[in-house]
């Protein structure tokens, strides 16, 4: 009699108690042993661990810092490439992009194998992490953005000119 009562009480408690966020189990023995009498410290440790970068390919939302904001913008190298003419030389445009990519690639790659241990926690835990993490983004300055925008605009005008030329050829036949 007592056992079913205890079991049903336990089930009620589990369902009615506020559900805390699923947390990855800490591997630290100190945290594991102290969990019972220092729950706040354990949660703080877990929160700290949760803020570490995770598998990029697992996350729907994560921040990917691709550039150093304090470095001199690559746009200064593009002074020669931004001219008043509509058609920019391909060589200077490719140099600009090479320089931009080199700057952006100076950050070390986040190892895809490091959070392999986290895979064992389960998909639900990973989804919680994703929702907390900042979204994937690009660290591009407005100056660089305007440069690539103007290049795209120049390409569009060149393509339009090419189409107009073809049109005139067809009409002229």
């Amino acid at each position: 009699m007592k056992i079913p009562l205890l079991v049903s009480t336990g089930i009620l408690l589990v369902t009615l108690l506020p559900c805390q966020e699923c947390r990855a189990l800490s591997k630290s023995p100190a945290a594991a042993s102290g969990a019972l009498h220092q729950p706040d410290f354990f949660q703080q440790q877990q929160q700290q661990q949760q803020t570490l970068p995770v598998l990029l390919r697992m996350g729907e939302e994560y921040f990917l810092r691709l550039g150093n904001l304090h470095k001199r913008p690559v746009g200064s190298l593009s002074a020669s490439s931004s001219s008043t003419s509509h058609l920019q030389p391909e060589a200077s445009a490719s140099n600009f992009f090479q320089a931009a990519v080199q700057q952006l690639q100076q950050l070390p790659e986040r190892s895809p194998g490091s959070p392999e241990d986290g895979e064992a926690e389960g998909e639900a835990v990973e989804r919680e992490k994703r929702s907390e993490e900042p979204p994937i983004s690009l660290d591009l300055t407005f100056h660089l953005l305007r440069e690539v925008l103007e290049m795209a605009r120049a390409e569009q005008l060149a393509q339009q000119a090419h189409s107009n030329r073809k049109l005139m050829e067809i009409i002229g036949k």
Partner: protein, 322 residues
């Protein structure tokens, strides 16, 4: 006689509907303005379009503003790449996967984002976009077999990709479709003119110019004409009613920019403002009760300008960044 009477009734009904302002605001460009092909016969169009698909290879960081087929092939390990797409204000971008050869299990990814995102700041902002941030990312590795064609909600979109193995890559086809009532727009150029219309829609729309500009609002209608009388102006700009606000800032997200001016009442005329910020946004907040319309023009701010206009001008705001 009955037919003449019916004709008169129909005419009266049409006249009443038009006077109530129920007609749609549609801007139809002249046929010869941007689309000379519209003047051609079908045979000529067929001849012109044969083999007309524009193709080129993509760079790691790239921007596209034209339709066509674009291929990226990694010549080395490429870990931090993105391609921006932008169209005219009335364009919607459609991205179609033609060929994808990436190693999802090996850490590669290919994601489409509905909008632009820079340094964590999104355009349109989360407040002005119908989808959540996570829904705005479409991951090929998760949904590639299901969703091969993705359409943006505004005139901008972008893709992020990472490829470890040289030789891997992908091919996408970019197409543009027309959006009758453009809502969230990033301007391709530092100068231009635009009319934003929100017809009976409860939504907020932003027009972003990523340059320091002089912006001149020439026509603002909040509410719609009912006969010859304007409706009573909306109740203030304190978050209630319909209004237009000018924002300035150094980021892409309009919700994180500084409000510079609020316009709560309809007017015809010229209201000019010089904004020396990296990004200038004109944002219209609409309750859905009215048809709201704002016409404005803008050109890049010349910091050497010393002439100050006296009529309805506000002193320049934001310190120059160039």
């Amino acid at each position: 006689m009955p037919s003449a009477f019916q004709f008169q009734c129909l005419f009266i009904l049409i006249f009443l509907a038009a006077s109530k302002g129920e007609t749609r605001y549609l801007e139809v460009r002249d046929a010869g303005e941007d689309e000379p092909f519209l003047l051609l016969s079908e045979d000529l169009k067929r001849e012109l379009s044969a083999g007309q698909i524009y193709r080129r290879s993509l760079r790691c960081i790239d921007m596209l503003s034209i339709e066509g087929q674009f291929t990226f092939t990694a010549d080395q390990r490429q870990l931090h790449c993105a391609t921006f797409f932008i169209g005219e204000p009335e364009d919607l971008i459609t991205i179609e996967y033609n060929f994808v050869n990436i190693d999802c299990q090996g850490g590669d990814f290919l994601k489409v984002f509905d909008g632009w995102i820079l340094k964590g700041e999104k355009f349109p902002s989360s407040l002005d976009h119908p989808l959540t941030t996570s829904q705005r990312y479409v991951d090929f590795c998760e949904s590639g077999n299901i969703q091969r064609s993705i359409r943006s909600s505004q005139n901008v979109a972008m893709i992020f990709f990472r490829i470890h193995q040289p030789g891997n890559g992908f091919t996408v086809t970019i197409k543009k479709t027309t959006n009758l009532f453009p809502c969230n727009v990033i301007s391709q150029t530092p100068s231009g003119r635009f009319t934003m219309v929100i017809p009976h829609q409860h939504r907020n729309c932003s027009f972003s110019i990523i340059y320091p500009v002089v912006i001149k609002i020439s026509d603002l209608i909040l509410g719609h004409l009912n006969g010859l009388f304007l409706k009573k102006p909306s109740a203030g700009c304190a978050g209630v009613g319909d209004f237009v606000e000018l924002l300035g800032g150094a980021g892409l997200d309009p919700s994180k920019m500084f409000p510079l001016a609020d316009l709560c009442h309809s007017f015809h005329g010229s209201a000019q403002m010089k904004i020396g910020c990296d990004n200038t946004v004109l944002r219209m907040v609409s309750s859905g009760k009215h048809i709201n319309r704002v016409t404005f023009e803008y050109h890049q701010l010349d910091l050497q300008e010393t002439e100050m206009r006296k009529e309805n001008s506000i002193e320049e705001f934001c310190f120059p960044s160039i």
